[in-house]
Amino acid sequence: MHSESKIDPKIMEEILKFGKNVIDAPKLVSAPDEISLEVTPHDTVQKIDKTRLLHYRPLTEKQHKTPLLISYALINRYHILDIQPEKSWVRNLLLQGFDIYMLDWGSPTSMDKYLDFDDYVNGYLDSAVEHIKNESSTEKISLQGYCTGGTIATAYTTLHPESVKNYIATAPVIDGWRDTTVISNLAKHMDVDKMVETIGNMPPEFMYYCFSVLKPFEQGIEKYIKFFKNIDNKKFVDNFLRVEKWLGDTPPIPGELFKQWIKDIYQDNLLIQNKMYVGGELIDLKKIDMPTFTQIAVGDHLVSPECSMPLHYAIGSEDKTLRMYPTGHVGMIASSLSQKKVLPELGKWLSERS
């Protein structure tokens, strides 16, 4: 008996095309080491240990008086804030007339395993702020903290409110118990003392594992299918490779810092309860009394909105704004939405206070 095949010939066509794209890929894409992630021109104005303070060159004739320092996260590198001209957070703010500095935490090695919260908050970040104040002849600066850099910047702002004119918290890690992400679940069950005692710094491989369990099928399969389907689209491929290179470049986290991080934020949740100590001083969120802008991504699967939002309600400031955006953790800082909505809103808020 003859049975008629119902399979659409287009399926075969698609499979063959996909196969051809996979074969052609090595000829069409650059090797990761050929891609430079440095986009907007900048100068290194201070170096302490492995950290660097970057000062971006202005793109406008006139600039706002108060400079802005960005405290980037401890996971991956600062390049995502300047990943490509059309999606660059830094470039957008420069074009809005802001004077931008970025703190690059560098790549700690085994000998940095004793660096702790105090070193990052009262050492590197405080030194960067002092340098900017001197260079720009201002008494106060604007400070933005992103993700884990937001936690460090929050601690800094409570301890040195006299140096911060405006504070911007972008998806900060604040309330560990309310965090509903997979990362928080893994962190809560981690024997961090044993980890730091045995291997010293938190290795990048562990972070890669954590990334791999976040939407594993979307990120591990669909993303690459899309890549091969768009292999002829130069712009898409370039953007994809830049983000992939950024994702694959995460430095280790110093052991002592990581230990305090996991215990004080995720396991004991001390920060939001105003019980966390840094360098022997209590972090009291009520001391954040300057204008504060909190940015949250509704679809954030790295730092859930419930983890960041409590900051807005815990601080002492009367001039505070909370904005929520329909995007993810990276989408908030490096997407067309961030260019069209997030950055114009931030720029308007900041220019009125700079």
């Binding site: 119902k6 399979i7 659409d8 287009k10 399926i11 698609e14 302490i48 240990d49 085994s110 000998m111 940095d112 395993k113 004793y114 660096l115 105090d118 070193d119 009262n122 050492g123 405080d126 030194s127 002092e130 104040k133 001197n134 008494e139 509903t180 992400t181 997979v182 679940n185 893994l186 809560k188 069950h189 981690m190 024997d191 044993k194 980890m195 045995t198 291997i199 369990v213 976040l214 939407k215 594993p216 099928f217 979307e218 399969i221 669909e222």
Partner: protein
């Protein structure tokens, strides 16, 4: 004659092999403990893969229920793929978010660290046998260095702030 015959003895009493032999008992103890920890590690690893396999089975059943027909064209394949990815992402995220996964994964990592610790201890025996500093000794140097750098850094910053205030 006496010097000639005693020299090799003196050599072995200071040489690396003697130092290694003196500590070989420690190596044996570490190896026995490695075996014990390996059993625990394998138990947690088996549970880890079991949890993944179970989640896969449940997610696949859900996909089959939601999309029982074999896709016949490009649009249907695309829709099927979307359902498959969403179902699997949801079910696996639920697993990774669960207490049972978190606890087992924590124990698995902890056992792996125990194994690393034994390996470090064995390496220390070898290092000491050739008169090289152990991990603990190097850590002490790092700690001292960190403390000194911290003190210098804070003093420098204090001076800088004083200077700024003076110039203001």
């Amino acid at each position: 004659m006496h010097l000639m015959s005693s020299k090799p003895q003196a050599l072995t009493s200071t040489g690396p092999m003697r130092a290694f032999t003196a500590n070989s008992k420690k190596v044996t103890t570490e190896l026995i403990e490695i075996n014990e920890d390996l059993i625990g590690f394998n138990q947690y690893l088996t549970e880890y893969y079991k949890q993944l396999a179970d989640a896969w089975g449940v997610a696949q059943k859900k996909v089959n229920l939601k999309s029982p027909e074999v896709p016949q064209n490009v649009e249907q394949i695309e829709a099927f793929k979307r359902i498959w990815i969403d179902m699997f992402d949801n079910d696996f995220t639920e697993l990774f978010d669960s207490k049972k996964f978190g606890e087992n994964y924590g124990k698995l990592v902890s056992k792996e660290l125990e194994l690393t610790k034994h390996w470090n201890n064995i390496t220390n025996v070898v290092l000491q046998s050739v008169n090289l500093p152990s991990k603990e000794e190097i850590d002490e140097v790092y700690k001292e260095l960190h403390s000194l750098k911290k003190r210098i850094g804070k003093l420098e910053l204090k001076l800088k702030k004083k200077e700024t205030r003076k110039n203001a």
